[in-house]
């Protein structure tokens, strides 16, 4: 039930935003993310943005995983 999906904010009007979820357009509430900006990626749950997706952290995490070493000291 705690599934949240990534979406890109396209327009903002007050507490409402239009987002793009893999090509699907939806209107969501920004009540919990009043400082969200157009172009940012957010996690959407039950019609609300609940958190920002940090792109740099995503890249960094992936790089770290890609370079996983198998031997351990």
């Amino acid at each position: 039930m705690c599934l949240a999906i990534p979406a890109k904010i396209e327009t903002i009007e007050g507490t409402k935003a239009e987002v793009d979820i893999r090509g699907l357009k939806r209107s969501i509430g920004l009540h919990m993310m009043p400082d969200a900006k157009v172009g940012e990626f957010v996690l959407v749950h039950a019609g609300f943005a609940i958190q920002r997706i940090d792109q740099d952290e995503a890249e960094e995490t992936y790089k770290l995983l890609e370079n996983t070493g198998i031997t351990i000291s």
Binding site: M1, C2, M32, P34, A46, Q51, L65
Partner: protein
């Protein structure tokens, strides 16, 4: 945007599995606390990838599964009142109460509507001023802020025919209750990513401090889960070898800042306060519920409607409570896959798509 599908890359997954194998010395039991993790672990066959000596236990992380039967009975009773439109997320409608479910109530004439967002309920309330619109307040910290934001909007817009039946649950103290029960041996927690997106890191810190086990806040893709297992095992190893203290680490850094979401937390605090909650098949746990503060009691459907229900009748022989405490795996239930299937579920762990029994049934036991 970075392609998040990369977090399913099989080559990287294979490396992580090798690392898990290398780190694994002896047996370990890790509990995943989130139903979405339970699903992901089964769906991606994580159990089949990692050494048998690592046990993954499903915790009480499905809000539908842990909603008390008496709450379900009351919601069904409210839905049956004249001039009530009862609104809910879809997962709730199939859960059997003592005598029926919201879905059955609907087929018998109650106005029950499944919504994607609680904001839609507000819309319905505005369009139907002569009706009472009630929303089923079921969910963990991921979901409760969306419902509370809707309450605040109702207040602001003066929509007073809207209310919420509060059956919210909060996660950290429930983990404490599991550890305190002393029945389950747990060597670490995979903490729920989207609950943590709201509450942040701090609420889990008592776990390593008081119970000397590691916590890792995990994302939901296969690489996230494998990497989180690596982190749990690395902490365990560093503790054994060098006496390093256990901590709460975040693997899912892209979605969980340390402080969580302060706006959401402030809204929750404004409207609700912690109270004791009844967890289905587990019992009462202090400070794991959210009740309306006095100033917002007008939005509390459990007060607005004077509902009396008979004592709840639990399904005979269902061991869902023990499954959610990590004491049994689903296929250890004699009814699993026989009397109890997703088509005709006996207990809540089989009804909800995120229940441990449903996940084991759908993707194969032990996956």
């Amino acid at each position: 945007m970075m392609d998040l599908d990369k977090f399913r890359d099989p080559t990287v997954a294979a490396k992580l599995v090798k690392r898990i194998e290398a780190l694994c010395d002896g047996s370990a039991a890790f509990m995943e606390v989130c139903g979405t993790h339970t699903m992901a672990i089964s769906q991606f066959g994580i159990r089949g990838l990692i050494p048998k000596s690592i046990k993954l236990l499903s915790g009480p992380g499905c809000p539908v599964c842990v909603t008390a039967l008496s709450d379900i009975d009351r919601m069904i009773a409210i839905a049956g009142l004249k001039d009530v439109i009862f609104t809910t997320f879809g997962d709730m409608v199939r859960v059997p109460g003592s005598h029926s479910s919201l879905r059955e109530a609907k087929s018998q004439g109650s106005d029950v509507r499944i919504l994607y967002s609680p904001l839609d309920a507000l819309q319905i309330a505005a369009e139907n001023p002569q009706k009472q619109v009630v929303f089923a307040g079921v969910g963990f910290e991921t979901t409760s802020p969306t419902i509370i934001a809707t309450v605040l909007e109702a207040k602001e817009k003066g929509i007073d025919n809207f209310s919420v039946y509060p059956a919210f649950k909060t996660v950290p103290r429930a983990l404490k209750a599991i550890l305190e029960s002393g029945q389950t041996k747990i060597d670490g927690f995979l903490c729920p990513g989207h609950v943590s997106a709201i509450i942040g890191v701090r609420p889990y810190q008592f776990i390593p401090a008081q119970y000397q086990i590691p916590c890792v806040i995990a994302g939901f893709e296969p690489l996230d889960i494998l990497e989180s297992l690596v982190m749990l095992l690395e902490q365990t190893r560093a503790h054994k070898k060098g006496g390093l203290a256990f901590t709460v680490q975040t693997e899912y850094r892209r979605g969980v800042p340390d402080a969580g979401n302060p706006h959401a937390l402030a809204m929750l605090d404004k409207v609700t306060k912690a109270c004791t909650a009844e967890w289905r098949a587990i019992g009462n746990i202090p400070d794991t519920g959210l009740c309306f503060r006095e100033e917002y009691s007008a939005f509390d459907a459990s007060r607005r409607f004077d509902i009396k229900v008979e004592p709840a009748i639990e399904p005979q022989g269902c061991i869902c409570g023990q499954v959610m405490m990590g004491l049994h795996q689903p296929d250890e239930c004699p009814m699993f896959g026989k009397k109890c299937t997703p088509e005709s579920p006996v207990g809540p762990c089989m009804v909800s798509s995120e229940g441990a029994c449903a996940a084991w049934y759908k993707y194969g036991a032990g996956n």
